[in-house]
């Protein structure tokens, strides 16, 4: 147990080191940094944290984080509402948005099926996805989940639930990452990338 010779420092270090990936040493470094900052700037930091925690909403349509009832993607008239990309969480939405390759909308599950962690289908935003599918407004659902056992299980489960509707269910391509050297790639990925080869297309 470190001796900070100050209860105030100790409290702040203990609180900050509760954050994931931040230990006591880093927390102390952050506290000592904040002590040198202007009080107004520290107020801006804590204010923005409190504000995001207390005011954030979840989109009623796609469960994405949102400043309003409906998120900026679902309320954008230029996005194709008949094309739904199913993702595990909000970070995936940000990652896919950053590619600028997708013009549909999302459906955030809020997790993936993981019996080990006690997460079953009922703990995820699956019911609302089925309802959307049943409404007949969706043409295609893209499964953009991690290529893990849990991800594959979730895709399998969703596909079974969705196949009664007339919807094209697709899955993002698995294969060799751009820039990867072949010799370092695991054989499952490499095998799948050969099976799922696409026509070489010089434009």
């Amino acid at each position: 147990m470190d001796n900070y010779s100050s209860k105030l420092i100790e409290d702040a270090v203990n609180q900050i080191s509760k954050l994931p990936g931040i230990g006591k040493k880093t927390a102390l470094r952050l506290v000592l940094h904040l002590l040198k900052e202007k009080p107004e700037d520290v107020q801006l930091l804590t204010g923005s944290i409190l504000k995001v925690r207390n005011e954030i909403k979840y989109c009623k349509i796609c469960h994405n984080i949102s400043d309003n009832e409906i998120c900026s993607i679902c309320s954008n008239i230029k996005r194709d509402k008949s094309l739904v990309c199913v993702v595990q969480d909000i970070r995936d939405v940000i990652a896919i948005e950053n590619t600028a390759q997708f013009n549909g909308v999302y459906h955030v599950l809020g997790g993936i099926i993981s019996p080990i962690d006690g997460i079953g289908p009922d703990d995820l935003n699956i019911k609302s996805l089925i309802e959307k599918a049943a409404s007949g407004s969706i043409k295609e659902i893209i499964m953009a989940l991690s290529s893990t056992i849990e991800g594959d299980t979730t895709v399998y489960y969703l596909n079974k639930k969705l196949k009664v509707y007339n919807i094209r269910v697709t899955i993002i391509a698995r294969g060799v990452s751009i820039g990867d050297e072949l010799e370092y790639i695991d054989e499952v990925t490499l095998g799948r990338s050969i099976l799922n080869r696409t026509l070489y297309d010089i434009k």
Copy 2:
């Protein structure tokens, strides 16, 4: 520029990523973590940060951080006030306190002399150290600064200022770290550790 589809998230990420060593990705991870925490717990975090920034004091004697006018070390009657350990900043106080090997008091300079960074003697808590020395209450001053050009310069400067007083000025031992393998140690450290060898003493 990432698209967070939420101004609240964006603000919090921008504020958190101003902290040293925290980038946008880590900041987003922290924000998404905080969204899952109870509002009361987030309040505890931000409250402790605001409190430490607004209420922290600096000890009038040693310039250490303190909850009161005089820090818990300087006000501890069991500590030897005639033995003063000069350190660069508060972190060094914590590091030395954790060794449980020192029973004197500290003097926190608040930095070291570094012409490149524009830090001269007048920017540091040197005047109060000289005053303490002049008062005749100090028997020994231990220089516990980093073994860098700046650290050595500061020690040289302080020693010159202090030698008019009848005070023993010492410097912490430089040498081979416990657990280090000899072949990986730089020659200056190794050379000094041979010059400053101590008698092998089996207790």
